[in-house]
């Protein structure tokens, strides 16, 4: 049965998407060359003889025969992978190095007929997906800090780039003789590139892609794509923890400080007694009775002692005894002071003062008993005269006793050891506060240290002296025009 001719025009087949594949014979070796971005690529390299072929016209002339075979690319040309939700095909790559030749990196040219070209830069395991910008970014190549889309970028490095090897196809006349001036700025995970090639200045913007994402996209083992060095725009793994924990730590430190000073003002602290004792050998193994006092509530008792020692030591066994319950709080104070002269001059060691705190002493009436012992007690015959209290002061505890003015009322057989013992209650202990601060800043300190170490490692690889802090709101020194990388008018 014939189909009647209605005269209608048949619908046109759907247009082929741009960037279709074309195969042609290499004019040098005759091998099949695949052109993956027809209409876009200008230069393609023969995969058989490595010759560079100009595909901008139908003649496909050989530009140059490659000096070396293509090698060293982690991702093969023709591989496709999805990055940030877009399928990309690797159509070319070029291996480049800096002026010294010691630092090499690979730039893959990715193509998608609907999205155009991107560069995927592999800097020894640190990957950045780069898009060329169609506009100028003021300050690139001139300033140390550049603002772009609300972020401040700090200059990271600059210098010449040399193309060593190329492979695949390119939308420009790629050559192993390509040399360009480049400068880059970082604001992790983003990066700005400025590149001057002959009369052309190109600004590109990129962001960090983890090796695992690259591996997943192109079906390559991620471990083979990662490198040991910290990338220029690699996100600091401690940045999020630092941003979260530092405000909490500051609040906690402020809170602890408020608690400490509130305690200072609210605690009923006062001086109980200050007495200067004259201890003799007759007091050894005996208890000298100190002051009796009453505590109205649970508090601490601080005992500050300072002794007049000359190449001697003094130990005070203290007992705070509740006169009603006979509950005893013991403590020991040790003081020693030695000095002399030798070939190096005068020397001294030891401390003739000591402080102990009886913590959480319940309310009640207490008596302080002091059992002294000293090195001088054993040096001379024991005195037959019991010690006597020289002075008693209940105010102004901050004034140290004047031992010179203290005159023994009954001279003992051995020189007495003079010691001033001061009792306070309700004292605020600063050691609690400092221990609390230490415990509060332990974890933030660790995170900050790791954060700064990461940044220091990052900037140690930079070609500038921008310092280790790469935060996006640093001091703006954008007026610095000392760069050697400058635009040509």
């Amino acid at each position: 049965m014939e189909v009647p001719d209605t005269g209608a025009v048949p619908p046109l087949p759907p247009a082929k998407p741009p960037g279709r594949v074309k195969v042609f014979a290499c004019p040098n070796c005759g091998g099949a060359v695949t052109l993956r971005a027809v209409g876009n690529s200008i230069t393609v390299q023969c995969s058989h003889c490595s010759s560079l072929i100009d595909v901008a016209n139908e003649n496909c002339q050989v530009i140059a025969a490659a000096e070396a075979a293509i090698a060293g690319a982690a991702i093969e040309i023709g591989k496709r992978g999805k990055i940030d939700g877009i399928d990309w095909e690797v159509v070319g790559f070029q291996q480049r190095c800096d002026e010294s030749g010691s630092f090499e990196w690979t730039e893959y040219l990715l193509f998608n007929p609907y999205y155009g070209y991107r560069f995927l830069i592999d800097e020894q395991g640190n990957w950045t997906l780069v898009k060329m910008l169609n506009r100028d970014v003021p300050g690139v190549g001139v300033s140390d800090t550049v603002s772009f889309e609300g972020r401040d970028y700090k200059r990271f490095s600059e210098g010449k780039s040399y193309t060593r090897r190329i492979g695949g196809e390119f939308y420009w006349r790629a050559s192993t003789d390509d040399v360009s001036d480049g400068v880059d700025y970082v604001s992790p995970p983003y990066r700005l590139f400025g590149e001057r090639n002959n009369d052309e200045i190109i600004v590109s913007h990129g962001h960090y892609i983890s090796p695992s994402d690259i591996g997943e996209a192109f079906g390559i083992e991620a471990a083979s794509l990662a490198g040991p060095e910290i990338g220029a725009n690699q996100p600091n793994p401690y940045a999020a923890a630092k941003a979260a924990i530092v405000p909490i730590a500051i609040l906690a430190v402020v809170g602890a400080t408020v608690v400490q000073f509130a305690g200072l003002f609210m605690t009923d602290r006062s001086q109980i007694d200050t007495t200067t004792y004259s201890f003799t050998s007759a007091d050894k193994d005996k208890a000298v009775t100190g002051p009796t006092f009453t505590l109205r509530g649970t508090s601490n008792i601080e005992v500050d002692s300072i002794a007049q020692l000359n190449n001697d030591w003094l130990e005070l066994d203290l007992s705070l005894v509740n006169t009603e319950t006979e509950q005893t709080f013991p403590a020991t104070q040790g003081m020693e002071y030695y000095s002399g002269y030798d070939s190096d001059g005068s020397w001294s060691e030891g401390d003739n003062s000591s402080t102990v705190v009886f913590s959480r002493v319940p309310a009640g009436t207490y008596k302080l008993l002091i059992e002294p012992d000293s090195g001088s007690f054993a040096k001379a015959p024991a005195s037959t005269t019991a010690s006597s209290v020289l002075t008693t002061t209940t105010v102004d505890g901050v004034t140290f006793p004047s031992f010179a003015s203290a005159s023994p009322q009954a001279a003992p057989a051995t020189p007495p050891v003079l010691a001033r013992v001061k009792l306070m209650h309700g004292t605020i202990n600063w050691s609690n506060y400092f221990i609390a601060l230490l415990l509060l800043i332990l974890l933030p300190g660790y995170i900050l240290a790791r954060y700064w170490w990461f940044e220091a490692s990052r900037w140690a690889e930079s070609g500038t002296s921008s310092g280790s802090d790469s935060s996006s709101n640093d001091d703006d020194d954008s007026n610095d025009t000392s760069s050697s990388w400058s635009r040509e008018e």
């Binding site: 923890a241 979260a244 924990i245 909490i248 730590a249 609040l251 906690a252 809170g255 602890a256 608690v259 400490q260 305690g263 605690t267 208890a287 009775t289 649970t298 508090s299 601490n300 008792i301 007992s319 005894v321 006169t323 319950t325 006979e326 509950q327 005893t328 709080f329 013991p330 403590a331 020991t332 102990v356 705190v357 009886f358 913590s359 959480r360 002493v361 008596k367 008993l369 209650h425 309700g426 004292t427 605020i428 202990n429 050691s431 609690n432 506060y433 221990i435 609390a436 415990l439 509060l440 974890l443 933030p444």
Partner: protein, 45 residues
């Protein structure tokens, strides 16, 4: 981890307040009250 650190910080501040209120010193040589000791009687004068 942040919630854990907040809880940790709150605990430290609470401990500090309690220690200050009770007169407790973290670095005190004192190890706590001893039980009543009749031998101290001879000290009373």
């Amino acid at each position: 981890m942040m919630k854990l650190f907040m809880a940790w910080s709150a605990s430290i501040i609470t401990l500090l307040a309690t220690a200050n209120y009770q007169g407790y010193s973290a670095t005190s040589m004192f190890s706590g009250p001893q039980s009543a000791d009749k031998s101290v009687n001879h000290w009373h004068k």
